[in-house]
């Protein structure tokens, strides 16, 4: 079971995850090529996934797989294993992102066919 974490643990991994999010955001907002924007979206979501997985870490913990001699000591295992819930959440989220990336890339192919360019600032004929 998880308890409420007090304060903010300045572990290095959280900083890296947020840097990935910032990098992805920069690519998504400021690059002038649709494929690069899609890559930025992928990096952004990867940063969020990294953040989510590292939330489940428990200092001195073991992986959440019952094997070997943990079979006989299940309560001890439960006290020492890392949290498996964020891992399941991230697995689901990765699959959702595959769908978004596939859709975005096929839209980019169509955009290239219609407009002849992948520059989002030129794909602006709908302005009114």
């Amino acid at each position: 079971m998880c308890e409420i974490h007090r304060g903010v643990k300045l572990d290095f991994i959280y900083i890296i995850a947020m840097m990935l999010v910032a990098l992805g955001l920069y690519c998504l907002l400021l690059k002038r090529n649709l494929i690069k924007m899609v890559i930025g979206l992928a990096v952004l979501t990867d940063g969020i996934h990294l953040f989510l997985i590292s939330l489940g870490y428990r200092a001195g913990g073991v992986a959440a797989i019952v094997s070997g001699d943990w079979f006989s000591d299940l309560p001890g295992f439960a006290a020492r294993a890392v949290d498996p819930v964020p891992q399941a959440l991230v697995l689901t989220s990765i699959v959702i992102n595959i769908c978004i990336l596939a859709l975005a890339l096929s839209l980019a192919i169509y955009a290239y066919r219609h407009y002849g360019t992948l520059d989002p600032s030129k794909i602006r004929r709908l302005k009114e």
Binding site: E3, L55, P86, S93, I123, L126
Partner: protein, 498 residues
């Protein structure tokens, strides 16, 4: 109530969506012409019956809690249905049924209809999932299902407008849903649970400086979906480029679900009734901006899209005021907005189906050709502007009175002015399309096909009914309003007994 109704309400469209490619292949192999359309209509009718069957139990005050897999909350995912969920589920099921009947004829000239019906059923399943679930990550997953299906539906016709609109929509909305995921991650780190009722309980004693970031992320993420100013830029392009049946579904059902998700997270999970004033102010800005932008549009679908933004502003104003009357007005306006917005988009679709364009400069004098459609457009225009015998007046009046009651007469005055602007641009649209000189090439335009007229007439009848008997509407939304203001009932029902 049909046993297992909550989960069946999500499963029926999902199962039908999985089955649809097989049905399509089978229909082509055997040569049965309309098999997939009839299959889809049967699925949504069964869905509507299931949702209606849950009405007596929930309106009697009971919160239906359904545990998936038999696992107790907070360790398992559960579906929790109180008055608010059921109102949204009713709107989604009803609008879904009517738009499906409408697309029977409207979409028959398009190719790739297998995929259209699959996506339609998927987006319906996603919306029902968001409306009925009691777990925040499950809400995110179903929300993503709804969003991805909507990106594909906007790009359905694959011409340059649809592709451009869908790219813009997709980039902005993916950013929004990533923010929602980050908010869920932060909440899990703060409280260690993913159940909405459990989180509401555990977040009580946490300091407010820690919950500000998740709250801001959620409001931004859902705000992008409901097109709250300043996050509304994607909506006009997306609604203009999508097929009209899809735009009708979006404006009626998807916007409703987005507002529900925002309310559920902000009011029940965070218990942050205090930020209602921010909603009210942003709602006011949204309302005015939508109305002003709609005044200058030349294309009917784009005008309706900006009008959509304006109506969402009304709903946010009502809900943001936070008083009983305010929330009742906001929810009643949510219900009415679904009715007349869907009706107006269907009418535009009928005009495009018969004439081929929605540009108001090229239309005119269609009253002689399409008298029934014209009358229905008048009903819709008067309803949305808040003219007395129609439902828009009842809900807007409630919001005006709530504004004065809450001590903010300025809000009421601005809302009144915006209603007048709404009437102005709709009269302008009416004049451009149905009255005036008819161009020569429109001489032989026929009346709308009957099966497309049927849902529109039904919605118009509902407009009149709820306008003449406003008490019926208030009774309809009272369970939802009580559920919204009384979150402890929800929490104890989910965690305590069932």
């Amino acid at each position: 109530m049909i046993p297992h109704a909550p989960i069946l309400a999500i499963l029926i469209p999902l199962f039908a969506a999985f089955l649809m490619p097989v049905v399509g292949i089978f229909a082509r192999w055997k040569g049965l012409k309309r098999a997939r359309e009839w299959f889809a209509i049967a699925a949504v009718l069964v869905e509507f019956a299931i949702v209606v069957s849950m009405l007596p139990a929930v309106w009697g005050g009971q919160v239906l809690v359904y545990q998936l897999g038999g696992w107790q909350p907070p360790w398992g995912i559960n579906l929790a249905i109180d008055g608010l969920n059921l109102l949204v589920a009713l709107i989604v099921a009803g609008i879904g049924t009517l738009v499906m009947i409408y697309s029977f004829v409207y979409m028959e000239r398009d190719t790739g209809l297998d995929q259209y019906y699959t996506l339609f059923l998927l987006i319906l399943a996603g919306m029902m999932g968001v409306a009925l679930t009691g777990d925040i990550f499950n809400l995110y997953v179903f929300f993503e299902i709804m969003c991805i299906s909507s990106y594909a539906l906007v790009a359905f016709r694959r011409n340059w407008q649809s592709i451009e609109a869908s790219i813009k929509y997709m980039i902005v909305s993916s950013l929004g849903t990533s923010f929602i995921l980050l908010g869920v991650a932060l909440l899990y780190g703060l409280a260690g649970s993913l159940n909405i009722a459990d989180l509401a309980q555990k977040l009580g004693p946490v300091a407010s400086s820690a919950v500000i970031v998740p709250l801001a992320l959620f409001v931004t993420g859902f705000g992008i979906k409901i097109a709250m100013v300043p996050l509304h830029m994607w909506l006009p392009d997306a609604y203009q480029a999508a097929p009209s049946a899809v735009a009708a579904l979006f404006s009626g059902a998807t916007a409703t679900v987005g507002i529900y998700a925002m309310m559920r997270v902000v009011y029940t999970l965070f218990g942050a009734l205090a930020i209602g004033i921010m909603f009210a102010t942003l709602g006011l800005v949204t309302m005015v901006l939508g109305a002003f932008m709609a005044l200058v549009q030349r294309d009917l679908k784009r005008l309706l899209a900006y009008s959509c933004i304006s109506q969402i502003g009304y709903i946010l104003l009502g809900i943001g005021l936070g008083t009983t009357l305010g929330i009742q007005g906001g929810l009643f306006h949510l219900f009415n907005n679904a009715i007349y917005k869907t009706m107006l988009f269907m009418i535009v679709g009928a005009i495009i189906y018969r004439v081929g364009t929605s540009n108001m400069d090229e239309l005119g004098g269609l009253w002689k050709n399409m008298p029934v459609t014209g009358t229905l457009f008048v009903v819709g225009a008067l309803a949305i502007s808040g003219v007395p015998p129609f439902n828009g007046f009842a809900s807007k009046w409630t919001i005006y009175v709530a504004g004065i009651e809450a001590g903010q007469p300025v809000f009421t005055i601005i809302a009144l002015i915006t209603s007048a602007l709404t009437l102005a641009y709709f009269l302008k649209a009416l004049n451009s399309i149905f009255l005036g000189q008819r161009p020569a090439h429109l001489k032989d335009v026929k009346e709308t096909p009957r099966s497309m007229l049927l849902p529109i007439i039904l919605l118009a009848v509902l407009c009149v009914v709820f306008g003449v008997l406003p008490q019926l509407g208030i009774d309809l939304v009272r369970p939802a309003q009580e559920a919204l203001m009384n979150s402890s009932g929800y929490i104890s029902a989910v965690l305590g007994g069932a």
